[in-house]
């Protein structure tokens, strides 16, 4: 049974091109051109992933996310024009999972869609007691982290940071979200703390901390845990 993807995009050429590309890859695609139509078609079409353009006539992309997240956890990938990082950060803070900057390549889009689908599947089954990805394993119940079978010693903050990242694997987490969840709401502007701890974490769990493969920087926005084994 093929996965269902809802495209919300007001530009017709874009809608057609992306729709065609996704269909060719075996997805079941439904496209709308307005935010209101998106919200009304989600309960009916029940998509597994939503591709949402931020600039829409009628209600804005951000409002769609805000509205949607009140009753649905369906992964949302926002499509935004190159430029202001703030729009993307806002979308992610409101609950979007990932973003793509126009112009983007189809291969990139497909990769993100697959990551989002995996995330959606996990939401359905509920949180697992152990997170495993390649040679990294995180046992949440015992708070033990191992890389290649060897236990890695993390400070409490480092562990919390890793936990938030892996439980949202594939999803882009903004600085604001990470700081809020690891350090508490009072620290939401101390990005240097975040950066330092991310670097520490990379030194402990990445094969090559200088070229991080797992904890990926989303410049100007935040970080994302990328699965090495998909």
């Amino acid at each position: 049974m093929s996965a269902r993807i809802l495209i919300v995009e007001d530009e017709p050429h874009m809608r057609r091109a992306v729709g065609a590309g996704l269909k060719a890859n075996g997805f079941n695609v439904h496209a709308v051109d307005r935010g209101e139509d998106a919200l009304s078609s989600v309960p009916v079409f029940r998509p597994d992933v939503i591709l949402l353009d931020l600039t829409l006539p009628g209600i804005d992309g951000h409002d769609v996310i805000r509205d949607l997240r009140e009753w649905s956890m369906t992964p949302v990938i926002v499509l935004s024009a190159h430029g202001d990082e703030r729009d993307k950060v806002q979308a992610l803070d409101l609950g979007a999972d990932d973003y793509l900057t126009k112009p983007f390549g189809m291969d990139e889009l497909l990769a993100r869609v697959r990551v989002a689908l995996r995330h959606a599947a996990q939401l359905g089954t509920g949180p697992e007691p152990v997170f495993a990805d390649g040679n990294l394993s995180v046992d949440f119940s015992r708070r033990v982290v191992t890389v290649g079978g060897t236990e890695v010693h993390l400070t409490p903050t480092e562990y919390d940071l890793l936990r938030v990242l892996v439980t949202n694997a594939g999803k882009v987490l903004t600085h604001h979200m990470l700081l809020g969840q690891v350090w508490g709401p009072a620290s939401v502007s101390d990005t240097h703390y975040l950066r330092t701890y991310v670097n520490q974490l990379r030194r402990k769990i990445e094969a090559d901390p200088a070229q991080p493969a797992r904890i990926v920087t989303e410049p100007g926005i935040g970080y994302r845990y990328r699965r090495v084994d998909l």
Partner: protein
Amino acid sequence: MTITAVMLPFRHVLSLYDVSFIFLVIVVMIALLADRWTSASTAVFAFLLLNFFFILPYHTFNIAVLRHALALFVFLGVAMLTSQLVYLLRLRAVEALQRSAQMEALFHLSRTLIDAATLDDILASMTRQVPLTLRFESCSVLMPAEDGQLLLRAGSGAQPEFMTRDEAAIAAWVFQTGEIGGLGQQRGRLHQRWRSPEREATTIYVPIGTSDHMLGVIRARVANGQRRVSPEDERALSMFANHAAIAMERVRLTEETTQIEVLERSDALKSALLAAVSHELRTPLATIKASVTSLLQTEFEWSAEDRRVLLETIDGASDRLNRIIENLLDLSRIEAGVLVPRMDWNDIEELIRDVVQRSANVAGDHPLHVELPPDLPPLRFDYVEVSQVLVNLIENAAKYAPSGTAIDVIARRAGGMVEVSVADRGPGIAIGDEERVFDRFYRGRVRPGYPGVGIGLSICRGLIQAHGGRIWVENRDGGGATFRFTLPIDVHHPRVRLEELAQ
């Protein structure tokens, strides 16, 4: 009186005329020192003394000899006349001195006003000069705010914190009618004088400007209990106000002219930019159009290989279009002066690695070689903008470097800065052009057919300068050019104290 006593014993020796002259001298001296009534009464008193003590018969007011009587009355006339004249002369002399002092003050004021470049300079000069030279205690200037209300713009001397309602009312009236107004105190109460200030006024309000273009109001106050505002003050202040008005107009016109010049320059730039942009954007578009229409041909089948090549060409041209558009947006933001980098603490190594990874196709067939020292401190910069600088520099290097040669991207610490350099093995920069390469539209090393309008480097300069850094180019030993840019290290960069391990 003393003089009389002194001369009494000699009356037999001195003649009447000698005594008269001596008395005259005294009267004149009194006139020099005191006011007219004192000197007049001294003259009369001298007359009486002369009569009583020095004219026969002595000790009476009778005069025996007619000649003596004549002399006496002549004396009185001369004394009165002289004393009044001397008094008037003195008065005029004082006035002349005052006027010359005012002229001097006005001259100084004009001098400072000519140099004044801003409105604030003008107001400062005025409020400083007026109390100094016109003997006021304080001076302030009121100018209309957005809503038309007169507000205190500048002041010196002892200033009250705010204007009373009376003061505000009279200031507004002066501003509206262009007439001089004054505020006085009578028996301790504030007392308005709508006409030119009577002698009771202690504060004078003088309008600045012409009847159809009022700019403000000068308000000057005399020190408590010192004196009253005089017509001379009024005149002097009016002159000051006129000078100030002229200076203010001049400043305003200069500002307008500068603005017009800026607009004209930016218009010229926009035209040049539009012309260049059309060409620059059309080039990759032409490539795309050609490739796509080729592929759409149904007359024959393309081989998989050829199809792949054409499609990759289209992909590359689209990326190039995207970069050009990004550059143009930056350029327009720089030109409009609205480029405000979003500074944040970032790792320059992370940026360099990230950009190098993304620039594989920009660099084309030039391998990118990266050298990064360990432990560079975090720097404050706008990640997106500095990425753009690096991409532009790499693209630039790729344009001129011969096929297959490497492009070196090196970072190092240099004093209070971190320096990043991008070096190629191309033809280098012509001697003397090292600065000009960063000008807009400069295309020094260009060979015909090479793409590029020449805005990439000027954008790099704009972006780096907005970060407080420097960007420059040097020719390289062995051929080629090295572009370097610096970003300042903030000594207060955050150093996070890390936790101890819990386990």
